[in-house]
Amino acid sequence: MSVSTPGISRPAEATEAQAVTRVLQGTRLRYFAGAISVVGGLLLWELISRVLVANPLFLAAPSQILQAIYALTVSGEMQRHMAISGIEFVLGYVIASVIGIGLGFAMANSVTAKRALQPWISGLYATPTIALAPLFILWLGIGIWSKVLVVIFLVLFPVTINTEAGLRTTSERLIEMLRSFGATPRQIFFKVSLPSAMPFILAGLKLGIGRGLIGVVVAELFGSRAGLGRLISQSADAFNMPELFAGVVVLAFAGIVLTAGFTWLEGKLVPWTKD
């Protein structure tokens, strides 16, 4: 075989160099693909709303939305809406997380608790509980607590279900390992079950972010004095597209930031699941 002769190896090197270049270009494209896509999309949107639609009653251009956000921020109105929605979200989310993790623990540790709670959890998880928002407003008024309740209902079930699943799927091998050293059930819970359920619990909490934000906004649409949902609905009533989109953009941004923050937290808390 002449594999090792210089005449053959040179083209091989050339191909290799080309391949390296291709890979580099590929990496560069991959690296910037997200940014290019976003900028391109925004430009297209700007173009469509200014040239094709050209009617601010139907569509606002990104530049107009930015202006609206700026104006709302200067007037302090944006901060007011954000604060109200933020309080509703945080209250509902924290309450739901605490109760959800607690219920998950109970269901994982007691067959009776699981049997008793399972039908309700499954049933209510599958129900579009957001449809209950008007009822909650009827009961609790148009203040923040009706929204908090909606958020609780939306966040509670994924957290409960994930916590229970995480605790229940703890590896028998790991439990047995600890048992071989004479560990107590309490030690097994804190040293094995709980840490191994952490990725599941965090996934449930992460799922809750999106659901909680939806809950806040939709509940506010049904009736409220302030909040981003209120901003969106009153802008829609006034055909003020830039302000409507301003509300949507802030919400989208909140969702992205919270989810990214959670992904970062997962990397810190459960790094063993990341590779």
Binding site: R173, L174, E176, M177, L178, R179, S180, F181, G182, A183, Q187, K191, V192, P195, S196, M198, V270, P271, W272, D275
Partner: protein, 258 residues
């Protein structure tokens, strides 16, 4: 002197199935004992009963004259799969037995570091299991069992998931570590050559019901190097044990096919 480990008329039934029947033996302090046999002969069940992970149906196990009624810090179990906690570092995994006993003082930490060095993991204390090879994870598994300074080391096919070369290296490593401390070891394996290479005595189990067929004394000089596996004396032991279990192995293979 009383034996380190005494097993008297030990039996275990799972429903109708007699997994173990009338096992009796005495293990002296510092002895390295292997248990070999076809799959289904109850060798792992036997080890788990000694560990206290499973109750015996009949008979009893005495460690230093005291009856075994459950797991405890006087026995160190080395698992077939590494069973390391993925969120803990090598060091934190190795010291967990001490932690369970509430002993994590400077002396225990120092001892755990020494053991990690002994098993060849110096410098890897802060690594996580996912960063280690299979052989290295089994070294942590071994260090973890040694870290509680057990009266007896119970090893359940610890090298069976490793590739053939790594397995041979781990066998010599285990010999080196054992020569240092001369712990009493009960080692379950399905590799006959592994059992002969490591042991002072090999307990050959038979199946249906699981029982002790023969005890083979391995009179090969120590320390043993891997090359001993190619000597006629070594091969004779392997042949002898293989003939003892051959029919059983064939039967179990046919059964598994059905």
């Amino acid at each position: 002197m009383a034996p380190k480990l005494a097993v008297a008329n030990l039996g275990k039934t799972f429903g109708e199935l007699a997994a173990l029947q009338a096992i009796s033996l005495a293990v002296e302090r510092g002895e390295f004992i292997s248990v070999v046999g076809p799959s289904g002969c109850g060798k792992t069940t036997f080890l788990r009963i000694v560990a206290g992970l499973e109750p015996a149906s009949t008979g009893e196990v005495l460690l230093d004259g005291r009856a075994v009624h459950g797991p405890g810090g006087d026995r160190g179990f080395v698992f077939q799969t590494d069973s390391l906690l993925p969120w803990r570092t090598v060091f934190a995994n190795a010291i967990i037995g001490r932690e369970v006993a509430g002993q994590v003082g400077p002396a225990e930490r120092q001892r755990t570091m020494e053991l990690l060095k002994l098993v060849g993991l110096e410098g890897f204390e802060h690594y996580h299991p996912r960063q280690l090879s299979g052989g290295m994870r089994q070294r942590v598994n071994l260090a973890r069992a040694l870290a509680i300074d057990p009266e007896i080391l119970l090893m359940d096919e610890p090298f069976s998931s490793l590739d053939a070369q790594t397995r041979e290296i781990m066998q010599t490593e285990l010999m080196r570590i054992w020569e240092e401390g001369r712990k009493t070891v009960l080692f379950v394996t399905h590799q006959i050559d592994e059992a002969v290479f490591l042991s002072d005595r090999v307990l050959v189990f038979a199946r249906r019901p699981g029982r002790l067929r023969e005890t083979v004394e391995i009179e090969l000089p120590r320390p043993r190097a891997l090359a001993i596996k190619r000597t006629p004396g070594f091969v004779r032991y392997v042949d002898h044990i293989w003939r003892l279990i051959e029919d059983d192995v064939r039967a179990s293979v046919i059964e598994e096919k059905v």
